[in-house]
């Protein structure tokens, strides 16, 4: 990968970024003052329901629409004052595809390389490399109209990385893909990150944000409602939930555990003691030892991690789960 000059470790930095659309119905504020910092070489997930402002945000950062207000630096260039420099340094993979069905995969890649200033032979060599990386060699000289959804999506990503950008924007990269194609896309995205590319992706799939993103922000109604690693966000909710089956011995067990330092909250209900703890995986062995020492054998013990949906639910009062993942 081309090593861009390291002015700061942030590859994307926004400050009070806003975008208002004017329509017949009046002004609609799609993005209402977003502050973000995305570091070099991380996968940053932008999670939110449809219509939350994700696409507006990514299109602004990719120079496709100009911000109504606020500042942003992308790949070391000022978004407002140096959009041409930003374009040279970023790749962008739009949501709805980016290829002509009559053109071949190779033809699209070679043209894309040339649009970024490569000579014909450079662009041809690079296209072959990208086709090999994305396992599209067999289909390289067929029209993209004959590709499967997963292949076309991989080609879209290939078009975004032909010029080895330091920042890659992916708008809903796996929407509409079957589970295999999605897992494959996740692998490609991780491989890019491992090569040093900063990946900024939007998604409305909880699993995707959870599994793929090193850090993520949750956006709702144009505002960031939470930001951090997936684990941090979940811990902020209420910690982990441990449920102990006590078979009538509830008050006794509760008395044993409720004053432990790592227990935030404890309750007894229906033969089950429920504990809210900071780090469940550390708490369970300690609890087992303690109960064992007290001569008590629990009938069951379960540990539940809160999901990103719990995070979203807590921040917005709504569930993200209305739309099932494909």
């Amino acid at each position: 990968m081309a090593a861009p000059t390291r002015i700061s470790t942030a590859r994307i930095e926004t400050s009070d970024l806003r975008r208002t659309f004017r329509s017949r119905g009046g002004a609609v504020e799609a993005v209402k003052g977003v502050d973000l910092r995305v570091g070099a070489g991380e996968i940053f997930g932008f999670l939110g329901p449809n219509g939350a402002g994700k696409t507006t945000m990514i299109r602004m950062l990719a120079t496709l629409i100009t911000p109504t207000a606020g500042e942003a630096t992308v790949a070391g260039a000022d978004l407002r004052r140096e959009p041409q420099l930003v374009r040279r340094r970023i790749g962008y993979v739009p949501q709805g595809g980016s290829t002509d069905p009559a053109e071949t995969g190779r033809g699209e890649l070679v043209l894309q390389g040339r649009l970024y200033g490569m000579s014909k032979s450079e662009a041809t060599t690079r296209a072959a490399e990208v086709l090999a990386t994305l396992d599209l060699e067999a289909a390289a000289d067929r029209g993209t109209g004959t590709y499967s959804g997963g292949m076309r999506r991989r080609l879209d990503v290939g078009l975004g990385i032909v010029h080895r950008p330091s920042v890659l924007f992916l708008d809903e990269p796996t929407t509409g893909l079957d589970p295999q194609a999605r897992a494959r896309m996740w692998d490609e995205i991780r491989a890019l990150r491992d090569l040093g590319t900063t990946v900024f992706l939007t998604t409305h799939y909880l699993e995707e944000a959870d599994a793929l993103a090193d850090r993520l922000a949750i956006i709702d109604h144009g505002r960031i409602v939470a930001e951090g690693t997936s684990d941090e966000l979940k811990q902020d909710v209420a910690g982990d939930v441990i449920t102990i089956g006590v078979n009538g011995a509830g008050p006794r067990v509760l008395g044993l555990v409720e004053n432990l330092s790592f227990v935030r909250e404890a309750g007894y209900e229906d033969g089950l003691v429920r504990l809210y703890v900071d780090r469940g995986e550390l708490a369970v062995p300690q609890l087992l030892r303690l109960l064992d020492a007290a001569g008590f054998a629990p009938t069951s013990i379960t540990l539940n991690k809160p999901s990103l949906d719990d995070v979203f639910l807590r921040q917005t009062g709504r569930s993200l789960r209305e739309e099932p993942a494909a």
Binding site: R87, R88, P94, T99, D100, G107, Q112, L115
Partner: protein, 252 residues
């Protein structure tokens, strides 16, 4: 220079994709050839009956070429709407590619296609009795290129703004048809009532058609040649300017 390079890249790409589907090039020629074969002889017979001394095909073919150029380039916005839908335009907008080249590369492809169509039509018309002055035909091709550079950018602009074939079709028909009827391409306007002749004189295509006829007859002293070519050139510059603004405007 990067604009030139980008224009060449855009031209090559759109030309490659057009040639891959040659049906559309042929399709664009069917209508003018039908006019030539099925309407031309009728026109010739009536001019002979009217005792006009001129060669009917030397009057009719120049106008028909103008008509082909008009209709060939007025509908190119449809192709752009398809490209918008595929996401190709947006993909290119994120590259450092010149916005002007996105317009000019496509428009030059349209010009080359319509010039090829014009040459084929001239050749087909030869056995019917068309007489060609080589220099005049060459300048006529230039005039047709200017019509392409006038109509194609306007069609692209409309496509960019409307983004829908359903909206573009009536607009193009609504503009191209009156332009055609008011240009005196199908029948001489000498017999038309004064108001119709007046409207016709405001139509740039009337002057383009008059210029093309003078050129085919090598009537180099005819002022209509300079008038037709300059009007079309000025309008083409205006159209390219308008369209390049539309292409470079950030798209909300």
């Amino acid at each position: 220079m990067s604009v030139t390079r980008d224009t060449w890249l855009m031209f090559q790409r759109s030309m490659r994709l057009t040639i891959r589907q040659p049906i559309w090039i042929i399709f664009g020629m069917i209508q003018p050839i039908l006019y030539l074969v099925l309407f031309g002889p009728l026109l010739e017979a009536s001019t002979r009956a009217a005792g006009a001394g001129t060669n009917a095909y030397n009057w009719f073919i120049p106008g028909l070429l103008i008509q082909t150029a008009l209709f060939g380039s007025a509908f190119v916005g449809f192709g752009l709407i398809a490209e918008l839908r595929y996401g190709v335009v947006e993909r290119m907008r994120v590259t450092p590619m010149s916005r002007f080249a996105m317009l000019l590369g496509r428009s030059l492809r349209d010009v080359v296609i319509l010039l090829a169509q014009a040459v084929v039509m001239m050749v087909i018309a030869l056995p019917f009795g068309l007489r060609i002055d080589p220099a005049g035909a060459a300048v006529t091709l230039l005039l047709l290129a200017l019509i392409g550079l006038l109509m194609a950018p306007l069609s692209y602009t409309a496509g960019l703004i409307l983004k829908s074939e359903d909206a573009l079709a009536p607009l193009v028909q609504g503009i191209a048809l009156p332009l055609l009827l008011l240009s005196g391409i199908l029948l001489p306007l000498a017999l038309a009532p004064d108001w119709l002749r007046f409207l016709s004189s405001l139509n740039p295509l009337t002057h383009a058609a008059d210029a093309a006829r003078a050129l085919f007859n090598a009537d180099w002293g005819n002022p209509e040649i300079a008038i037709g070519v300059s009007i079309t050139a000025i309008l083409a510059i205006g159209a390219v300017w308008i369209a390049s603004r539309a292409f470079s405007r950030a798209n909300a």
